[in-house]
């Protein structure tokens, strides 16, 4: 019995000591998506976020709706959160301005008007937060960062509010390339 205990402890101790990178390191435990051309890095907590599609510079990351635990995903239930990242032409200010200007045309009302933001890595950009109509009460957050390749454009869409600290932290974790 003693011998078995000693063996179990000696096996367990190194396993515990060795496993995992430090949990308090910056962005520890977050997944990163970086397109092949290295134009940006988007970090997301997985779970609950999942990279569901990526092609070229475009990537789609989602948190499925709670109901998808019981109902088939293809049943047409929108995800709880959806983020589409892409690189577009222009400047961050002009892209965000266009996002704000076209809100009404999309049936959205502006919740937070155009404002400047900065990421943890120092990239500057703009964002605007809108809300859908009563018939489709989804929240939207349009974020744009200037990049050498153009504008890194993030479009969040979600059932919950998007002007909240978890989404702020996710936006701040975005990095704009090129990377060495």
């Amino acid at each position: 019995m003693r011998r078995a205990r000693a063996i179990a402890l000696s096996l367990l101790a190194p396993a515990l000591l060795a496993c995992g990178s430090p949990g308090d390191a910056r962005y520890a435990g977050m997944r990163v998506h970086e397109p092949d051309d290295g134009s940006y890095r988007v970090r997301f907590l997985s779970p609950p976020w999942e990279l569901v599609d990526h092609e070229g510079r475009r990537a789609v990351i989602e948190i499925p709706a709670n109901a998808t635990g019981f109902i088939d995903r293809d049943a047409g239930i929108p995800p709880k959160y959806r983020l589409v990242v892409d690189v577009v032409g222009g400047s961050a200010a002009s892209v965000s301005g266009a996002d704000a200007a076209s809100a009404a045309a999309r049936g959205e009302t502006i919740v937070e008007p155009l404002r400047a933001i900065e990421t943890d890595s120092g990239a500057m950009g703009f964002e605007v937060i809108t809300r859908g109509t009563d018939a489709s009460p989804r929240s939207f957050r349009y974020v744009s960062f200037d990049a050498p390749a153009g504008v890194v454009h993030l479009v969040f869409e979600a059932s919950p509010e998007l002007d909240e600290p978890e989404v702020d932290a996710m936006v701040r974790a975005v990095e704009v390339g090129p990377f060495e």
Binding site: L9, L12, A13, L16, L17, C19, G20, S21, P22, G23, D24, A25, R26, Y27, A28, G29, M30, L45, P47, P48, W49, I63, N66, K80, Y81, P160, E164, P165, E166, V167, A169
Partner: protein, 218 residues
């Protein structure tokens, strides 16, 4: 024949009454007052030698021995409060938990454990709930009101919370050392404090858990 029967019947009626009266007289303070005849019921009838009251003798050794000193053989059950941090770079931080623990009476071998239930601070949304159990095995130095100890500690638990409004539960497991001090206050009531270090893992990430635990128990 009938006379003898009557005499026996009379004796049977009278003797219990006399016995009852004697008992009552013995327990009453008034019983010592003389009656008209100058005798009390407590006193024996003439011709019968007086009863000597038996005094219970104490065993001489019991009277001479000093009161035996109470020797505390360590804690049995305890309630406590623990504070540590499962700090990550995503808003997770300080943990405060209430603990309930118990120990096996194994003398110098300190063998026991505790369960804890508490809250982990999460700065980006609602706090997490923490459920955790810890097993302790080690040495405690008995022999006085102050019991220092050092133990190996292994823990397993669950951190439950929401990330982006989505329920998440993560298993946390750790291994380390705990050292502390128990101070007996009165009888078996004690207070204690302990510090521990555990290397823990959760979601494939490693955490250093430094825990302060304050306890009270029996």
């Amino acid at each position: 024949m009938s006379r003898i029967a009557l005499a026996v019947l009379a004796l049977a009626l009278v003797v219990p009454e006399v016995a009852l009266a004697q008992d009552a007289a013995a327990s009453s303070a008034v019983a010592s007052e003389p009656r008209e005849s100058g005798a009390t019921l407590a006193e024996p009838p003439p011709g019968v030698p007086p009863r000597r009251r038996r005094r219970r003798r104490r065993a001489p050794e019991a009277a001479e021995q000093p009161a035996e000193r109470f020797e505390w053989d360590g804690p049995r059950v305890e309630l406590g409060w623990a504070r540590y941090a499962i700090a990550d770079a995503w808003g997770g931080g300080t943990v405060d938990t209430a603990t309930f623990g118990g120990f096996v009476p194994t003398g110098a071998v300190r063998l026991g454990g505790y369960a804890e239930l508490g809250v982990r601070e999460y700065t980006l949304a609602a706090d997490d709930a923490v459920f955790r159990g810890t097993l302790l095995g080690g040495y405690q130095h008995l022999g006085g009101d102050l019991v220092p100890y050092a133990c190996l500690a292994g823990s397993l638990g669950l951190v439950v919370g929401k990330r982006f409004h989505t329920p998440q539960s993560r298993v946390i497991a750790g291994l380390g050392l705990e050292a502390g001090l128990d101070l007996r206050l009165v009888k078996t009531l004690f207070v204690g404090a302990s510090l521990s270090y555990q290397r823990a893992t959760m979601n494939d990430l490693a955490y250093d858990l430094f825990t302060l635990r304050l306890r009270i128990g029996l």
